[in-house]
């Protein structure tokens, strides 16, 4: 566009304003033109009348000139749009009730979409906060034969991968750590931490915001100890002072120098990590293939895909498995893209919610569209007049569409406000691994999406009514004088809208019903434990202060005794980890008198507990006995196992009295005698399969178990069953622990109910949302049915009057109207049942112990919907029975 045309376009845009003044001036100017001409002609001898006539001939049509002038002055298309918009606003203002209903309905529809899309955007669409995140992958070990998936690799295997692979630019290992932070004058504090390879940050491509990254030397044995801290810890504990870099603090009693602070929003892993320290693998560790505790992250070489990397790593691991059958038989590896690792778990629930909100929007559109259809029938006279005055069909459609798009955009605006308001709640849908980095926000993409669906919604629900209205027969419409009925086509269209609404609602309701049941069953597994009266907290004993097992045992004994004497405490116990928090791994066992050679995969999760733990947690002893004070260091080593283990390892016989040991049969570990079989508790996750579990008394474990992995897991979690509100005991329990050791930090203080709540939070949020959407859908379809019938009754008042005058009873009228409504509703229910049958299968992976085609759910929901429909039909039907034949006939 050159300067000349740009300038004239600007002038034309300017021409859109002050139209009246400009029109007046033009009229004046043209009138003057004629006057001057007349003056001239009169001077040369014409009569004023002749002169005027001559002037008008000479000038041509004044009106046409004005019209051409106006066209040239402004931008006709834009002016039409503005006129349509103004008119649309006026139309909406004339019927505020309808407008409010339509905007609110659409706002709920669009708002639900915006809300869910903003989560999809933050979690699935936005890249992770690392440099070229698409090239980052996690590498896991797998043991397909025993169903172990994505297990933490052993250092020896990591070392082989690192040296032999041809697909990675770089690889780093991480190790989960805990630190007690002291030595800076503040309260002792327990921190989650990662020990990391010194190349970890550079591999991710995110360096400290303050200070510096680790140097390779800092990863070598004997180097000065250094640490990088998180933005959160820096702000909270050190007040965000720059001078924290270079400062010395004690981590587990050892001096560490803080060398860097990570930027805000940096996150790697699911826990709230506060500290990263360089970690060193000793030569012994580097050849160890039996202790699996690393997390491995790698950066793909440019152009290499995750699948290629997966193949390469599987090949290397296959060689490892062949070379070290003792440690690695059957071992395989899996490469998982980092984004998949972090967000993969929510892809399905989010997709489900996206489908759900799309349904809600469709229902909202059908609803508004239906009302619009009836309204366009009422407006058919206005439209016919416009058409008679020469408005083209396209022009009429465009004007009606402008109205509906205006409604759509208004709804979208309100909807985005609703969505933002729900962000805090929706944040719970963000997986733990991106809690810091994926913040919900109304960014350009979300806004664009909202605008798009608002416009789309406007067109979707507006188009059918608009096309219908513009097709109306002019003559009929004008003759009927505005009391025009709905055409057959319109009625059919509106009916099918209602059927669709009911069907879509049914699908949503069934989905919600299945999820509600799933959640109930998940939580129900723990109902006999009465978790609401169990308080739990962690006291992780630092290795350097509690090196000797006797000291640890003394600590546990003392704490248990003190807590037990607190008023309101029913039972108290210690365990390596409470269910759902410590998820545990499987460790190999040898069963007495059984084949323990290669190929035997006897294994169990294990926990070290205090005698009263079962009572404190509410785990029932099914056979044999619980531990007691006699099971001490000097007594026969005993063990309790869960029912699953008893059934799987000693099928058809009692497990009591049987013996097994940790590790190989020839290992120095003692034989453990089974003295009790306890109820299964789903420990590793609310929906993971129950595995074999074993419990040993911590006093015996402390004495006998000197070798990893068993010696690595002394009791950590205190479990307190209370007769009063558990949280009311927090302060006194804290005092009790500090009476025993004033420097011992307490962490993760919460009720077991909270633990379970956290574990099911994501599902719960998904369930609540889906239920809310389904409820909304139900409400909208009820309104839809109601609207259609109410309109039907109004339209047929004369007919009903005639019928009643001819002797029809109220009951007949009721049956007529109800029958009409229920026919639609039941058609919708049938279509919906078929749709739900097809669609809920996609939910199966989200369900737990509920079939996606659960007949009870299907039946109940169909019944619910039918009942609601019946109520929605009954109100207009009753109104129809109140029709006074006299009034109705006079109206005719």
């Amino acid at each position: 566009m050159n300067f000349k045309s740009l300038r004239s376009w600007l002038a034309r845009l300017g021409g859109l304003f002050q139209k009246e003044r400009r029109d007046r001036e033009l009229a004046e100017e043209l009138e003057m033109h004629l006057q001057l001409y007349i003056d001239d002609k009169v001077q040369s001898g014409m009569t004023p009348e002749e002169a005027r006539r001559d002037a008008l001939i000479k000038f041509g049509s004044v009106e046409a000139t004005k019209e051409r002038y106006r066209e040239r002055r402004g931008v006709p298309a834009l002016e039409n749009l503005i006129r349509d918009l103004r008119y649309a606003v006026r139309v909406q203002r004339r019927s505020p009730g309808f407008t409010a209903m339509a905007v609110l309905t659409l706002a709920l529809g669009v708002g639900a979409n915006t809300a869910i899309f903003s989560v999809v955007n933050a979690v699935l669409l936005r890249p992770l906060n690392y440099r070229e995140p698409e090239r980052l992958v996690m590498v896991w070990e797998e043991l397909p034969a025993v169903g172990v998936r994505r297990d933490t690799p052993a250092p020896g295997n990591f070392n082989d991968w690192k040296t032999q692979n041809r697909v990675f630019e770089d690889m780093a290992a991480l190790e989960y750590r805990n630190y007690d932070l002291t030595g800076d004058g503040g309260e002792p504090e327990r921190l989650f931490a990662y020990g990391v390879s010194t190349n970890f940050f550079s591999l991710l491509g995110v360096g400290p915001a303050e200070g510096r990254d680790f140097t390779p030397e800092e990863g070598r044995p004997g180097a000065d100890k250094v640490a990088v801290i998180s933005h959160g810890l820096w702000q909270r504990r050190f007040g965000g002072e720059r001078a924290v870099v270079g400062r010395d603090v004690l981590l587990n009693g050892e001096k560490h120098t803080i060398v860097g602070v990570m930027p805000r929003g940096f996150q790697f892993g699911t826990l709230d990590m506060s500290v990263w320290t360089p970690f060193t693998l000793t030569p012994e560790q580097l050849s160890n293939r039996s202790i699996h505790f690393l997390e491995v992250v790698a950066r793909l070489k440019p152009g290499v895909t995750a699948a290629q990397a997966d193949a390469d790593l599987k090949a290397i691991t296959g060689r490892i498995a062949a070379a070290y059958p003792d440690d690695a038989e059957g071992l395989s590896a899996e490469v998982v893209p980092l984004h998949e690792q972090v967000a993969g778990g929510v892809r399905r629930p989010l997709t489900m919610l996206l489908v759900a909100v799309a349904f809600v929007l469709l229902i909202a559109c059908a609803n508004v569209g239906g009302v619009l259809l009836s309204r366009s029938a009422a407006r058919s006279r206005e439209i016919a007049v416009r058409a008679a005055l020469g408005a083209s069909r396209w022009r009429i459609v465009r004007q009606l569409l402008t109205e509906s798009v205006l409604l759509g955009v208004a709804g979208g605006l309100l909807g985005s406000i609703l969505a933002v308001w729900a962000f805090a709640f929706l944040q719970q849908l963000v997986p733990a691994g991106m809690r810091e980095s994926a913040v919900l926000q109304l960014d350009m993409r979300v806004l664009g999406f909202t605008l798009l669906i608002s416009l789309l919604a406007g067109v979707v629900f507006g188009l059918a009514p608009a096309l219908h209205a513009s097709r109306a027969d002019l003559n009929d419409a004008l003759k009927q004088g505005g009391r025009a009925g709905v055409s057959k086509g319109q009625r059919r269209l509106r009916n099918s809208f209602v059927v669709a609404e009911v069907a879509l609602s049914l699908v949503l309701l069934v989905g919600a019903g299945l999820l509600i049941q799933t959640l109930q069953r998940l939580r129900g597994q723990y109902s006999n434990l009465q978790l609401e009266s169990v308080l739990t907290l962690q006291t992780q004993l630092a290795g350097n202060r509690y090196k000797e097992s006797a000291r640890r045992a003394a600590f546990y004994d003392e704490v248990l005794a003190r807590v037990k004497s607190l008023p309101g405490v029913v039972a108290v116990g210690y365990t390596t980890g409470v269910p759902l928090v410590r998820k545990g791994g499987a460790n190999g066992l040898s069963l007495e008198g059984r084949d323990n050679g290669p190929g035997a995969f006897w294994n169990a999760n294990h926990r070290q507990i205090s005698p009263d733990y079962f009572r404190a947690m509410g785990v029932e002893v099914r056979q044999g006995r619980a531990f007691d004070e006699r099971d001490d260091e000097g007594a026969t080593p005993v063990v309790a196992i869960n029912e699953t283990m008893a059934r799987a390892y000693w099928p058809g016989e009692s497990a009591l009295g049987k013996r097994f040991k940790a590790g190989a049969p020839e290992s120095p570990e003692p034989w453990l005698t089974v003295v009790g079989v306890v109820a299964d508790v789903r420990q590793t996750g609310v929906d993971t399969p129950i595995k074999a579990e074993m419990y040993v008394p911590y006093r015996q474990a402390a004495k006998h178990w000197q070798t990893p992995p068993y010696s690595l897991f002394p009791p950590r979690d205190l479990v307190i069953r209370t007769s009063v509100a558990p949280t009311s005991l927090v302060a006194s329990v804290r005092d009790a622990v500090h009476d025993v050791d004033p420097y011992q930090p307490l962490s993760s203080v919460r009720t077991m109910d909270e633990v379970l709540g956290r574990e099911t939070a994501q599902r719960r949020v998904g369930m609540i949302l889906l239920t809310a959407f389904a409820g909304l859908a139900l409400l909208l379809s009820a309104l839809g049915i109601y609207g259609v019938l109410a309109y039907f009754v109004v339209q047929h008042t004369p007919e009903i009057g005639v019928r009643m005058a001819l002797g029809a009873q109220r009951r007949d009228v009721l049956r007529l109207v109800l029958g009409k409504g229920m026919r639609l509703a039941l058609t919708g229910v049938c279509v919906g049942l078929a749709g739900a049958y097809a669609l809920t299968r996609l939910l199966q992976s989200l369900l737990f112990e509920v079939k996606a085609t659960d007949p009870l759910t299907f039946g109940l929901i169909a019944l619910l919907l039918t009942t609601v429909a019946l109520i929605a039909c009954y109100i207009p039907a009753r109104r129809a029975t109140r029709v006074d034949p006299m009034v109705a006939l006079r109206y005719e």
């Binding site: 300038r7 004239s8 003057m32 033109h33 006057q35 000479k58 000038f59 041509g60 002038y69």
Partner: protein, 114 residues
């Protein structure tokens, strides 16, 4: 030639600019009369077509207008050429002369191009 064919319509802007250049500020009727006089009444323009053309020229910035008082004491809108209007006029005149010269060569009989 008495009808306002497309060729003439296209040259209306040029005629308006030329008129304003030679007459100075003048109202719409004055422009129309001048064009007719200059063409010795061979060119009878429809006066109404003048106004959209004036608006276009003004939007393009080649002319400017203001309200004034006419010789017989009537309020009228006066148009005058702007500096960029003069440049445009020069350019258009040159192009027009070129065009007519070329056409003249085509239409003059007996002069075959060598």
């Amino acid at each position: 030639m008495t009808d306002t064919s497309d060729v003439w319509r296209g040259t209306l802007a040029l005629m308006v600019l030329k008129t304003l250049e030679s007459l100075g500020p003048v109202h719409g009727y004055g422009i129309a009369r001048r064009i007719e006089q200059t063409s010795e009444n061979l060119l009878a323009i429809n006066h109404g077509t003048l106004y959209p053309a004036l608006l276009k020229l003004e939007q393009e910035g080649f002319i400017a207008s203001e309200w004034g008082v006419s010789e017989n004491n009537r309020k009228a809108r006066y148009y005058k050429i702007t500096r960029s209007g003069r440049r445009e006029l020069e350019k258009a005149t040159r192009e027009w002369q070129q065009t007519t010269a070329i056409l003249a060569r085509f239409l003059t009989p007996g002069e075959e191009p060598s």
